[in-house]
């Protein structure tokens, strides 16, 4: 029973931490738009925390470059498991228009494992919420809670 309640909590309370990995701020504004009264993601128990140690879901926007890939890896390592990563925007998914640049490593998945990709330039708030829900569906199947 206790295990069931923990699993239910995992589905019902995904706390997100947002990392701007060299984004143009377009996607970042859309991430923050999810917190406004219009979208109000707290309805689903989603809280935007500022601390990777408290977070369950890492939202990454922007391309990864040679400098900030260490930061990204460090933040990912500080999150206690179980955790999920969502790459947001064209840049986060693949590197976008910057993928050929000499300093760019590429998408987020070149450094850390990504669970869900949310495309768009910038990604719409609805798409970001859908991305978090898709990540939760993935967690559900992992936990064997296919309902």
């Amino acid at each position: 029973m206790f295990g069931n309640m923990i699993n239910k909590g995992r589905i019902k309370s995904p706390w997100v931490v947002h990392f701007d990995c060299g984004s143009c701020n377009g996607c970042d504004i859309e991430v923050l738009a999810c917190l406004t009264p219009i979208y109000d993601i707290e309805r689903f128990g989603i809280i935007n925390v500022g601390n990777p140690k408290h977070a369950d879901v890492l939202l990454v926007t922007g391309t990864v470059n040679q400098r900030n890939k260490h930061v990204l890896k460090n933040i990912y390592d500080q999150m206690p498991g179980p955790k999920a990563v969502i790459a947001i925007g064209a840049c986060g998914c693949t590197g976008g228009v910057f993928r050929e640049a000499y300093n760019v490593v590429g998408g987020v998945d070149k450094v850390i494992p990504v669970d869900v990709y949310v495309p768009g330039c910038p990604a719409r708030p609805e798409a970001i919420i859908d991305g978090v829900v898709a990540a939760l569906e993935k967690v559900k199947t992992l936990l064997g809670m296919t309902a």
Binding site: K8, K12, E42, G45, I47, N51
Partner: protein, 283 residues
Amino acid sequence: MIAKIIIAILALVLAPIAGALISGVDRRVTAWLQSRYGPPILQPLYDVFKLLGKEPMVTNTWQALCAYVYVVGAALSVVLLFTGSDLLLIFFVLTVGAVFLVMGALASPSPYSQVGGQRELLQMLAYEPLLILVFAAIAMVTGSFKVSAVFELKHPMLYDIPLMFIVLGYALTIKLRKSPFDISACHHAHQELVRGVYTEYSGPYLAMIEIAHWYEVILVLGLCALFWSTSVVGMVVLVALTYLAEIIVDNVTARLTWRWMLRSAVGVGVVLTIVNMLWLYAQ
């Protein structure tokens, strides 16, 4: 004796559940005041169950010990209150727990945690004298520091020491980490200090701290209830009105500096206490 043990066990089990529901309602009302829909009432429970299931991660073993002592201290003070024990003993047990929370935060070199810990000490410096003044006033009315003595009164204590209730409300706002006194950590998404004193606690240890916080909420609301000890309905109404006032104050005020907090808490506390005590003497 057996009745006391049963009450103690009930307090131990029901207090965190009640605390969780109160904080769920709090989040819902806060969302409503901000024209949002808000999370389900059970959301705090979901949060804590999730945190309990997370991988334990500590910067050092002291932190884990501190989280345990904090939750034990908070739970013990609630048990002492509900079994009608001594108010001063409750105060000391509560303080030991709170000090360990700060020690755990200071055990890590993280600047957020350090600043949060220092600010938490300042908050304790502000609310502890207020609590002592309230307890002293209760002792003057009842003639004893025992909680059980309050229930022997013929009329509600609020008639004798109404100003001390305001002092207790001040301490309550600081203890609940509500604006304008959410300077060491807060429950909303203000991220000036990340999570302040909570920053370095994570996973199950954060869950324990959250449970300890629920115990503390019940403890302070229980102290509020003592002011209308003659009827259960009166207690519930008084506590509900007090908490509603807390939520509204939380939403209409901005965070203030620790200097302002210390000055106003000690100022308001001492002045209101002196006025109330003089009035009590004159009667």
